[in-house]
Symmetry: C2
Subunit: 465 residues, 2 copies
């Protein structure tokens, strides 16, 4: 259905570059089909477009050297972290070199006194938090997958904690990047704020590898809260659950996480994880603060839940019980897939102003029913962001067509509600057609910037625009 476009290949250039890089990198340049395919897009319904070779890089300077070779021969470069992106971001639409940053996984500096750290892009969020454990600090952004921090920056990722801690754009102080001509830039230093020139940090965050390759990140850290509490509550219908969320946000309760599972998602989790939750919409919450504050927040939410017909409300600060309460959320993805073995899961990602959330989720559920698509809903609803996971038999043309229809319909619905077609996954290949609907002539500005910085379009061609 045209989500993936194949672009013209520069065969001569590619052949030359692969030869040169083989000389430079030896075994760290791989061209086997298995490795190439694994570095094309593998985690979604988008067709796999494998690169011609994969370079396992070890330093910023090495990335710069490779980019210079590719720039000379006008050969595409696609940055690769862990491959967990969802919209075809790492597909090699015109072939070229995948730069695998997983070996650049050093934590270069931790400044506990400044609440920041400097890391290489291949460090995953879990690895960073594991490393930080003894410092009393943590990095809060949690997109679910154990993504690389470079990839999370490149896609402007967020996830469950964003309602309190913001997204990647709010938690990066500065970046080091290799630009399309091989030059190395540092977008800023470690001051907590700066008004020095255009915000190149934020320009690179969310640029999906189309402007440069991030090779170092200076990240903000947060103190591990003195106390955390978790709460769950079931609701008679989606509107009630969403309305409880809306009121929680409007009352300024500084909730850290507030996640919605619809009845189908709860059913999936019950089956998958041997739970016996009421098969009704469920909210899962987490509160961070002092002992007194998390108790106050939990109880305030309990009162709100009550007002909207919530049942089975419970909360706890015990770590073990918290894990149990959140199990339904942690298992959601695999539980969903188990609803229909063999089906491919297609994740949507709209985000709307919170006043439109209840309406948007309810309309979405009705549309899924109308089209006969099985698709559990989970959402980072405190931000107005939710996902449906369409379970589609890719062999059935009618189902695939229905999935396409639904995805288009949902993205346009969100845009018509003053929202966005992507809260956190990014545009990649899959959502290019919606970008103009969302930001109109802004697309021309994006194109002008792209052309100015990467005139030969060698950085991840075929993405965003």
């Amino acid at each position: 259905m045209g989500l993936v476009t194949t672009l013209p290949r520069n065969e001569t250039g590619i052949e030359t570059v692969v030869g040169v890089l083989k000389q430079q990198l030896g075994e760290r340049l791989q061209t086997s089909e298995a490795i190439r395919t694994q570095h094309g897009h593998t985690t979604t319904w988008l067709e796999n477009q494998a690169p011609d070779a994969v370079a396992f890089v070890q330093s910023t300077e090495e990335v710069a050297d490779i980019v210079k070779v590719c720039a000379t021969h006008k050969v595409p470069i696609i940055a690769f972290g862990t491959g967990s992106s969802l919209e075809g971001h790492v597909n090699a639409a015109a072939g070229g070199i995948s730069i695998d940053l997983s070996q650049m996984n050093g934590i270069l500096d931790v400044h506990p006194e400044d609440l920041d750290c400097v890391v290489q892009p291949g460090v995953t969020r879990k690895a960073l938090n594991e490393y930080l454990r003894d410092t009393g600090l943590f990095f809060p952004i949690d997109p679910g997958a154990d993504a690389s921090l470079g990839g999370m920056a490149a896609t402007r990722a967020s996830g469950t904690n964003a309602v309190r801690y913001g997204t990647m754009k709010d938690n990066i102080l500065s970046l080091k990047a290799v630009m399309p001509d091989g030059s190395i830039i540092q977008t800023g230093q470690r001051a907590k704020k700066s008004s020095a020139g255009y915000d190149l940090t934020r320009l690179l965050i969310g640029s999906e590898g189309t402007l440069g390759i991030i090779t170092e990140l200076t990240l903000k850290l947060h103190g591990i809260p003195e106390a955390m509490s978790s709460a769950t509550c079931s609701f008679p219908d989606l509107e009630s659950a969403c309305n409880a969320v809306i009121m929680t946000i409007q009352m300024g309760i500084p909730v850290a996480r507030i996640e919605l599972l619809d009845a189908l998602q709860v059913k999936a989790v019950n089956g998958f994880s041997k739970l016996s939750l009421p098969e009704e919409p469920l909210l899962l919450l987490e509160f961070h603060g002092s002992e007194a504050s998390v108790a106050e927040q939990s109880e305030s939410f309990g009162d709100i839940a009550d007002e909207f017909g919530g049942t089975g409300f419970s909360w706890t600060t015990s770590s073990e019980e918290r894990t149990k309460l959140w199990q339904a959320r942690h298992d959601a993805y695999w539980a969903s897939l188990s609803l229909r073995p063999g089906a491919v899961g297609i994740s949507t990602d709209v985000c709307v102003p919170i006043s439109r959330l209840a309406e948007c989720v309810a309309t979405t559920q009705a549309k899924l029913e109308e089209l006969g698509i099985m698709a559990p809903i989970v959402g980072h609803v405190g931000d107005g962001n939710f996902h449906t996971l369409l379970l589609i038999d890719m062999e059935d043309e009618n189902e695939v067509a229905a999935a396409h229809e639904f995805v288009s319909w949902l993205n346009e619905l969100a845009i018509s509600m003053e929202g966005t077609c992507t809260g956190e996954h990014g545009i990649g290949q899959g959502k290019r057609r919606y970008l103009e609907k969302e930001i109109g002539a802004g697309v021309d500005v994006i194109k002008a910037i792209k052309t100015a910085i990467d005139p030969d379009n060698i950085m991840n061609p075929g993405k965003i625009i």
Copy 2:
């Protein structure tokens, strides 16, 4: 000393454009010397460079029309809010048309349920908060001056509340802007987060009118806290005060404001406002939250102050007493000027990682003494950001030379401490020479973007780069 450069003027183009606009705008195009001078830079030691005419605009479409006329004739356009910027941002270095946005002061929409609002750029922060008072919401960014929100966006402003609420970049959901070709773009909609394409919102924030003219802002709002408390405490020396700040931040106390006044600043305020504060470094704090939470925060800070030799610690939630405690801060600017009547005040604006704050402030004070410059220090120290206000007799060449020496020295000191030459004032004309020291080859990327979006350099020429 070269802070202000005069660029070549396009006399024919300017003459033509002034004629055309006079036809279009009538009385809303002003060319009197008084009005032109008032729209050049007036609030600092930088030389005034008046525009050729001032257009008092009333709509986005009108701005677009004017920009198209200027684009056709390659005539500079300088956006003007309230003129409170400090680094020559509104000077007409090559002449041209000042676009005064003060009549575009409508509050277009308030969405209390989404905690956002849509405003025109001429609305000032105080006017917005006055308007919002009955909604229980407020816009937190407070740079001191009652600046226009468009200007605050253009310079990436922040101020006293930033330690808790962030800067302009964190409190704008999207922007409408007129680009150099007269096209109108909307950078996003009202979703709380989005990963849709390059972050054009953040690219315009801090672009100082060099990429486009902001004509509408969608702002995040915050609930007015249930309770606020204020605290003050004196310290035996600057290091102790700074160390108390550092520990407050490191312990994760969610302080809303934490401001430092040095002994000279306190002396100035005592004289100006008839107070009798101990003439020692003073910290002023504000805490936002529930009654219980602000009490807890205030007392936690009291313990920290104690540890660093703080004296006279007191805190209160009473609105009247809070105003009294904060009087010293509110009067700081005028009190400083009263220390030396006739002198011009030159405000510096460095920001360093908080671990370097005590050292940076102490070194700064020693350097001021060495150079014999009278300059009180105030700071938004929770972010590592502080200002000195140099009191200079502009008729005395030696003093002016010493001021230049000091400003250069301080900016370079901050950069050498992994900080920035501007935490919140911006680059304008005054700090162009430091930008490359701070971000190196990043300047080339800024130039490439500027050239791509504004190839004829008509948008606020001579600023940032």
